[in-house]
């Protein structure tokens, strides 16, 4: 006879618990996905952003199938509560991400929220959005010792090749 301890141990559970119930969790994530598709960059608690990321990327994968696909249209209809975003999803986001095989979103942590809870916040954005970039890619400065030595080596090699 097996008295299961399913409720007490959560080894291997991947989905976090949000809101009042599983349905409420889906509604919460659905609102976040809608906001992301509308504004292309949102700031939210890190846990919600992390959870929502998977759903958003799968929605874009469905959208890449094209809007004639019945399943894709049903998914978009469920996940986007504002129906003008369905058009944006199929006509703007799907062509934008057609060349990419995956990872259409970028998740970055920002300093903790200013309120009493000091919550861990993150900003999640779709790649290729028209807004100003959050992180500038930095190339290593030329003035470091290693780079100066490499530069000298390259110049010596060029001189030896020329002579």
């Amino acid at each position: 006879m097996r008295l299961s301890v399913v409720a007490a141990i959560s080894h291997g559970r991947v989905y976090r618990r949000f809101g009042l119930s599983p349905r409420s969790r889906l509604d919460l994530l659905r609102n976040l996905v809608t906001a992301l598709v509308r504004h292309e960059r949102i700031e939210t608690p890190w846990a919600r952003a992390d959870e929502m990321r998977g759903y958003a990327e799968r929605l874009i994968d469905y959208a890449k199938r094209g809007d004639k696909d019945e399943r894709a249209m049903r998914m978009a209809d469920f996940w986007l509560t504002e129906k003008d975003l369905v058009h944006k999803l199929f006509k703007v986001l799907a062509p934008r991400f057609q060349p990419h095989p995956g990872s259409y979103t970028r998740l970055l942590q920002i300093p903790n929220r200013d309120g009493l809870d000091r919550a861990k916040m993150a900003v999640i954005e779709l790649k290729g959005n028209p807004l100003p970039p959050l992180v500038r890619p930095r190339r290593d400065s030329d003035k470091t010792l290693l780079n100066q030595l490499l530069k000298g080596y390259r110049q010596d090699a060029q001189r030896a090749a020329a002579a």
Partner: protein, 182 residues
């Protein structure tokens, strides 16, 4: 004196569970335990009953207060300040020092290594807010998202051939140095 007493299970769920197990037993899922005969009594629960056979109580005197009172732990000696200091200042009680604080290369403020710089993020957030205000003014009302890409142009900039067919959002200022046009 405590006596082990077999009584009928009072809880219906426990009794149902035990009945299922007994059913499995009888149907032969655990063969060899019984010879297939149904026992004369059903599933039962063994509980520790109260002393049903009190003997020797009438002879003995009433128990003294020292035997019936509940004893609890209490410190015997005052902890000295030296011992207290050792406990309070033990490294596991102190706040751990963070070694992942760096200087942002753009603005020079302090930032954690895995977190975006607060100042730079506030700058970008303000600019995004102003761009979004322009977008709302252009769209007019709610739920008017266009079905084309958007591009943001600053003062004195013309749309390039890559910006064909995109919606143009004008911002009335000079292009900031950290927003590179591509």
């Amino acid at each position: 004196m405590a006596v082990l007493v077999l009584v009928r299970s009072p809880l219906p769920r426990l009794r149902a569970l035990l009945q299922r197990c007994w059913g499995r037993l009888e149907r032969g899922l655990w063969p060899g335990v019984f010879g297939g005969q149904s026992p004369p009594w059903g599933p039962a629960v063994a509980v520790q009953g109260p002393a049903l056979v009190p003997r020797g109580w009438s002879d003995a005197e009433a128990p003294s207060p020292l035997e019936s009172v509940l004893w609890m732990a209490a410190p015997k000696q005052r902890r000295t300040i030296e011992v207290n200091r050792c406990r309070r200042r033990n490294p596991n009680k102190l706040i751990e020092i963070k070694r992942n604080i760096d200087v942002c290369p753009e603005c020079g403020n302090l930032k954690q290594k895995h977190v975006l710089c607060g100042y730079c993020y506030a700058k970008v957030k303000e600019e995004t807010r102003l761009i979004r205000m322009e977008i709302y003014k252009k769209e007019g009302g709610p739920f008017n998202t266009p079905t084309v890409e958007t591009v943001v142009l600053y003062e004195g900039e013309k749309p390039t051939e890559k910006d064909e067919g995109k919606r143009i959002i004008e911002r009335a200022r000079k292009r900031p140095s950290w927003f590179v046009q591509n």
